[in-house]
Subunit: 213 residues, 2 copies
C-alpha cells in the first residue's frame, strides 16, 4: 500500500516517518517542495517529497495533516479526481487562534471539519482519527501507559474504517473505538477545548484518555 | 455545613441522598414541592424538601442540578440575595434536545453555562464540577474502576474550589484536577458531545475517563 501524507508539520512528519519505518512507501505533500528544506530536516530519508497534488496522486491511502484552517482548501486544490474512492484519515482540528489563547473552534456543535471534508468530496472515504492526541502518541501510542488508553474514530464507510484500524494497529494502537458515522467528528473535535487546557495545565502534551467502565 | 440542592431529577436526588447518607443537613429544592411526590419517592427520608428559594436560603453550600436550559432562570427566580457569598457547584450541561438526538449544546466554544451563571451572579462562587459523569458516578465514583478515573473542575475562587474538593473527597473522588478559572467550563461542557455518543455506543452511562500520561 502506498501512502500520501498532506502536510509537513509535526503531525505530517510523524505519520510519514512512522509509515516509512514500518516499511511502507510514502510521499509527503507540501505547498512548495522547493521551500520545505528546513521543515523536512527530520524526515526519514525514504519518504519522498512532492506537491500536495503529487502526494495525493501517489497515495492509495491518504492522511490529511495540514492545519485545520486550510484542510478543505488544500484538498480542493488537489481536486476530486485524485481523491475519489480513496480512504483519507483526517487528523486535523478546526482550531481558531484568531481570538487569542487558548484557541476556539471555527466549526463545532452542529457541524465539524470532518463532515465538511466529507461533504466537499462525497466519493472520498473520510475517517476522523488521531486528532485527539499529540503527534508522538499518534504513531507511538505505547509511549504513554504502555498503550493502555483509547483512540476514538468515526466515518461513514465500514471498509475504510477497517483499513484505518489496520494501520493504527501497526502504529501500536490496541484500544480503538469506532463511534459510528462521520457526524461523530463533532465529538472528537469537541475534545480539543479540554485537550488544549490540559496541555496548558500539565505543561506537556504526552497524555491521553483511557475509557474506564 | 448545610447543603441546598436545586433540582429533583436524577442528579439532584443522587447528590441530596448522598449528602444525607454522609450525615449532612440537606434541603432539596423544586418548583412546586406539593407536586413533587412521585419524583421524590427515592428521596432519603432525612432530606428536607422546599421551593428553590427555600433550598437556596437553607444551604450554605449549593448544588445546581436543574436541567441546563433553566439553570440561570431558576437562580434568577431565587434572587441574588440568597446566593451572595455562597459556593455553588454547577453540575448541569447546556444540552439542547430541540434539534433531535444526539443533543447539541445551546452555548459552547466561546462561552459556557458555567460562565453565564457566574456573570449573572458575580458574588456567587461558581465551581463547575460533576457535569462530566452520570449521577451515580458523581456520588459513588468508586463504582467504576475502583475510583481510578478523573474529575475535572474549574472556577474563579480558590477557597470555593477547596471546599468543593472536600465534598468530592467525601463522595469518594480521589483524582480531581482543577483546570483553572470558570472559562474552563467550555472544556468540561465540551465533553458532552463525546459523552452522549459514548452513551449511545456503549449502551450505558457507567463510564468515565482516566487521564493517562
Amino acid at each position: 500500500m502506498k501512502y500520501g501524507v498532506l502536510g509537513t508539520g509535526m503531525v505530517g512528519l510523524a505519520i510519514s516517518n512512522r509509515l516509512a519505518e514500518l516499511g511502507h512507501e510514502v510521499m509527503i505533500g507540501t505547498r512548495e517542495p522547493s521551500k520545505s528544506g528546513d521543515k523536512l530536516k527530520s524526515k526519514n530519508e525514504s519518504v519522498q517529497v512532492g506537491t500536495f497534488a503529487e502526494a495525493a496522486a501517489f497515495g492509495e491511502f491518504l492522511f490529511s495533516a495540514t492545519v485545520g484552517g486550510v484542510s478543505v482548501d488544500v484538498l480542493k486544490a488537489v481536486g476530486a479526481s485524485a481523491l475519489n474512492g480513496k480512504t483519507l484519515v483526517d487528523a486535523s482540528n478546526p482550531l481558531d487562534f484568531s481570538k487569542g489563547m487558548p484557541p476556539t473552534l471555527f466549526v463545532t456543535n452542529t457541524d465539524s471539519l470532518g463532515e465538511q471534508i466529507q461533504r466537499a468530496f462525497p466519493n472520498l472515504k473520510v475517517v476522523k482519527a488521531l486528532n485527539t492526541v499529540t503527534a508522538a502518541i499518534m504513531v507511538y501510542p505505547k509511549l504513554v501507559a504502555g498503550g493502555d488508553h483509547d483512540l476514538f474514530i468515526c466515518g461513514d464507510d465500514a471498509d475504510a474504517k477497517a483499513s484505518v484500524i489496520r494501520v493504527l494497529n501497526e502504529f501500536g494502537w490496541v484500544n480503538i473505538l469506532d463511534l459510528g458515522d462521520i457526524t461523530n467528528s463533532r465529538a472528537l473535535e469537541g475534545l480539543m477545548p479540554l485537550w488544549v487546557r490540559l496541555y496548558g495545565k500539565l505543561g506537556m502534551a504526552m497524555f491521553n484518555f483511557k475509557l474506564v467502565r
